[in-house]
Symmetry: C2
Subunit: 430 residues, 2 copies
Amino acid sequence: MMRTRPLKVALLGCGVVGSEVARIMTTHADDLTARIGAPVELAGVAVRRPDRVREGIDQNLVTTDATALVKRGDIDVVVEVIGGIEPARTLITTAFEHGASVVSANKALLAQDGAALHAVAGQHDKDLYYEAAVAGAIPLIRPLRESLAGDKINRVMGIVNGTTNFILDKMDSTGAGYQEALDEATALGYAEADPTADVEGFDAAAKAAILAGIAFHTRVRLDDVYREGMTEVTAADFASAREMGCTIKLLAICERAADGASVTARVHPAMIPLSHPLASVRGAYNAVFVESDAAGQLMFYGPGAGGSPTASAVLGDLVAVCRNRLNGATGPGESAYAALPVSPMGEVVTRYHISLDVADKPGVLAQVATVFAEHGVSIDTVRQSGKDGEASLVVVTHRASDAALTGTVEALRKLDTVRGVASIMRVEGE
Amino acid sequence: MMRTRPLKVALLGCGVVGSEVARIMTTHADDLTARIGAPVELAGVAVRRPDRVREGIDQNLVTTDATALVKRGDIDVVVEVIGGIEPARTLITTAFEHGASVVSANKALLAQDGAALHAVAGQHDKDLYYEAAVAGAIPLIRPLRESLAGDKINRVMGIVNGTTNFILDKMDSTGAGYQEALDEATALGYAEADPTADVEGFDAAAKAAILAGIAFHTRVRLDDVYREGMTEVTAADFASAREMGCTIKLLAICERAADGASVTARVHPAMIPLSHPLASVRGAYNAVFVESDAAGQLMFYGPGAGGSPTASAVLGDLVAVCRNRLNGATGPGESAYAALPVSPMGEVVTRYHISLDVADKPGVLAQVATVFAEHGVSIDTVRQSGKDGEASLVVVTHRASDAALTGTVEALRKLDTVRGVASIMRVEGE
């Protein structure tokens, strides 16, 4: 069974993840050979700064010409860990055209152009694998795509960004405000100097697009994902959450509508009950909850980022792609046959927690309750508190559409007795 | 890409799992066709009692002659959900010999004869898949075998039997004794009339053997797994556990030795800290914690048994095997290249919680501590309590080998001042 010609791997990018991939390919070479059925050889490493010393990597393999590397024609698998849209997209396309399969960790690119890249891979009968693009080391794409291939997935809800989970966990456990928690995350290396992609939910939205696409066999692009960051979550919100027996997480939620005819994908902060398994996901860990017809509720938990964990996912894909290549076969490609419409946020149905600053006088509650009723939003609980002429109302609703809730809030803002809408937060996980 | 000739599936067994497999094959036929690339057709159902009415199954497909069914020669995939060693083993072997691949949910058979069955599958270039054999619907075998194929797994620790977790959870939450909790589990259908396979740990041991084999690329048979049931866990043990901030779970633990040169596999009740993710696994749910070099700590959680969840796992395998068949390829077979020795229980290193009934007089603690020291078992904490001439000592040790602990306990029993060893329990998850 064992053949002697090694499979040749080209590595695009040699940062935190790439260097770890190269290191494990060396230290675990015998294991990889046994598991694949042939040796794998690092045939080239494309980098931007060739003069930087990279321990354990033969300097002769290093090149700045990534295009020439993927065009060599003798490369079996290209591992793309550059990130970003270009030049990664062109390099991956070129790799397929020159006979290589591709393993990528590039969530932004896959969320934006996954369908087009799968099409090129398919034309050339090559594999495109990207387990590392979502939730780091956690096996998630393979289980969704293969283990649950005989089931019907109705919901994928998860914490898929470690940076924001670290910040929210810190706010929850210490009572810190957003800025203070972000500063600590930055100091500890959990947040980048420019944290926008994480805290504004762009990173999580890309992952939601990828997960929704796989779960529902439907093309879901980044633009289809409703996105709300977590920069406006306050210590007061956490206090409100605690009063409800909840905490706050930034969630990516992909759902099939109740009638099964459409899907939605969204990223936003939400309250979830402390008893929900996602509530106890601490620090920079990720976890994804999956609900399906036959399997019921599953959860996958683990480190969502970092060089080693991401490299573990990349190498798992590398082994699979190499095995496919030796078999003369390819693994499952894009599956978008269901082609369900992606509904806008207005059609999402969930529960809401709304804090209002109101005038402290009789009849306010009746006025507010009337507005909810007029918009068809049913109230679950109301809590009133007030002193010194100031008063607040906290309303928790039953399930209602986002459109109905938005209409309700617009009408509330027009009431003389409502001085302000202090916060609106969705309540999930019940 | 779509071919019209359907893939033919033979179902062996039509009980709780089999009938659910048949039902989903019908209700989800279009999805299965799209995901596989060809329709799948139920070509025959072998049962013991053909006269029983099976809703949704064409009576013309039902046969009592399972052997004739697997010998037909036109069957693409045999789904074996009979359970037990024979006739399942012979039927699976015959299926391979007559050109079929096999999907099985049979943990007992795979733990005992997995290597031999893989060998026959390999000779005939056929697939043998069995995701459903361990932890029901939880994708576990595929992640271990494929997602982590580029990593080095050091530890797999899990709750892999729902019946015993239901019983222990009930004892923990209500203070009930073992028999009372078992009676409730039986009344609710969580325990079988004869619960031996579950409560004595045989079921979990079979799963441990399968998991250890895959995780360590080493043949591990049921006989290699140390097994201790949970029938002797008492309400007093739960009280002791709570005093330590722990609960008690029946765990399957597969470990690579610190030097990497050998492995162990064992099933026994153990205390684990309430802060450990496995501690919060409630009711009949299963969860498995995996530790690897690069990925770090992962956890997989979900329903561990039941018709629907098990059918979900069977159907995921069915889709994979059908795709392989259309590709003219096979998936990863047995991987036992590492062939590490499986060490006996004496070499397992862990911590222990020991309750002793002792004479209430001066010097007892010194005597007991001396015995521990003489056997090289280092004490972490001791708690002494006594009244009315009776006294008890609770000792929690640092990490020590099972052999050293056993020697210690034998010596303790010989002390005049030790009236009895009330309980010994391992402490895991730290």
